[in-house]
Assembly symmetry: C2
Homo-oligomer: 285 residues x 2
């Protein structure tokens, strides 16, 4: 029986182990660092099997999915470069791709690597928050190597369909990181910055879904996001500079009292949003 | 039979007319400006009855709910000051309260006025987007006059329960406007400012729920929000100044490369968010 080994059974790895169960003729094996996590996975059916033995597991894996923090991925690839099964595929799920693709160069030529980023998650972390439906309707981004095997890309696309992703988008690590600084990383900086306002605690009872929607991701995994923001600092600070300029423009028009100008600006921005059409289950909340 | 008259059958007025049906022994009557809206309300059961005759309807209303734009409320109260039924209650649903409470001073002493703001809505507008469940789990904010009748406050609280509100919060118009600048108006300025980024259209396929959650409300009702922002400009610009400072602090720490400092800041902000605990149906998207 073919094997998919998921290294790291946190929120994403755990959800992936749940979502991949029953995928073609693959057995899903989770690798964790703590016995308690292995026990939880075994008792809750997170994957088909679970172990502490990373080297042993990946040596038999046709596909290894690294669901750990960026810097742990870099360390893991270096330490285990010789342990992966020849001809196998190694992939990951993390929100930064240039640094990961760079780190994957340590792998021997007979081991393929395709960067992967499922655009899904919640503000919680840990296997106890994992759920099989996490990836339903989300985008899955792939950054294959120039010499990645087509059979491996096709396999990733079938895995994406099995876990319920809306579509698969292929791009370069550089484009991924530039765009994600805007669509994901900046959303998290916005959320934490809103929560830094002294009014946060006095506003309870006065918040609606726009406030919940904007601040939801502020309760983030600090070690993970510290790495993601730091590894993409130039792109992220560039997005923040642009955003601050756009905010300042609105702030100044509102302060000026020029309703005609304000109405014009709002019409322009609202039209852009309508042209985006981003349907999602959260649209009506 | 007692009557609740809802003036304005847009998204909120229409949803209120649907949600209030069957409330105690009240008949729900909608007032619209266009015959097409009256016809839609009658054929879709939005309320128990609908009419174009505002003066006639409010003359028989025990409760009149003004579900129109702020400046239309000001005009309506002035024009119809003598048409309201003596002893009746007039209320509204709009997102600004100081200006509305001020405008309500034109009412004769025998007509009570209680400012009301249900913290609910969607990015759509018009009666065709109205739905009875809109207010479920949302906060309802009341700004009674000092001399508002307790029976009227109690009636509003029963109406809030009937339409499914999570709770009823009483406050002053000034506090409402100061806090809503932060929890609601600023969320809308954030959303439109994010959409002003040139990267907006190239990012399609790379967005997750944090992006949808933050930008959802950018497709706003321009005339309405132009008024809301303008009527609350000092509070709103103050919030934006604070927010821009907090964003800039994060931007500078990220640019500095000081991961320890960044991790400290993120820990502080994430802890604040966790202390807030804002459960909502949107939490897991």
């Amino acid at each position: 029986m073919k094997k998919i080994v998921i290294v790291g059974l946190g929120l994403i790895g755990g959800s992936l182990a749940l979502a991949l169960k029953g995928f073609e003729d693959f057995q899903i094996i989770g690798v964790a660092r703590r016995q308690a996590t292995v026990d939880y996975a075994l008792s809750h059916g997170v994957g088909d099997d679970a172990t502490l033995d990373a080297a042993g597991a990946i040596g038999q894996a046709d596909v290894t999915v690294l669901c750990i923090d960026p810097k742990d991925i870099v360390t893991f690839l270096a330490e285990h470069r010789a342990d992966f099964k020849p001809g196998s595929l190694v992939t990951d799920v993390c929100g930064i791709k240039s640094a990961i693709m760079e780190a994957a160069r340590v792998l021997p030529p007979e081991v393929d690597f395709i960067g992967c980023h499922p655009m899904a998650g919640t503000e919680f972390s840990g296997i106890e928050h994992a759920f099989a439906e996490m990836f339903r309707g989300s985008h899955l981004i792939l950054t294959p190597r120039e010499d990645s095997r087509q059979a491996h890309v096709a396999l990733m696309e079938r895995m994406a369909r099995h876990i319920g992703c809306q579509d698969v988008v292929k791009t370069t690590p550089q484009e991924h990181d530039a765009i994600l600084a805007y669509t994901s990383q900046m959303m998290h900086i916005i959320a934490v910055s809103v929560c830094d306002d002294p009014m946060l605690f006095t506003c309870k009872g006065f918040e609606g879904s726009s406030f919940r929607g904007c601040t939801r991701v502020a309760a983030l995994d600090v070690p993970l996001w510290t790495q993601l923001f730091s590894l993409n600092a130039p792109a992220l600070t560039g997005c923040l500079d642009e955003f601050i300029r756009n905010l300042q423009d609105y702030r100044d028009v509102i302060a000026s009292g020029d309703k005609g100008k304000l109405s014009e600006k709002l019409t322009w921005s609202a039209d852009r949003k309508r042209q985006m059409e981003l349907p999602g289950p959260d649209l009506l909340h």
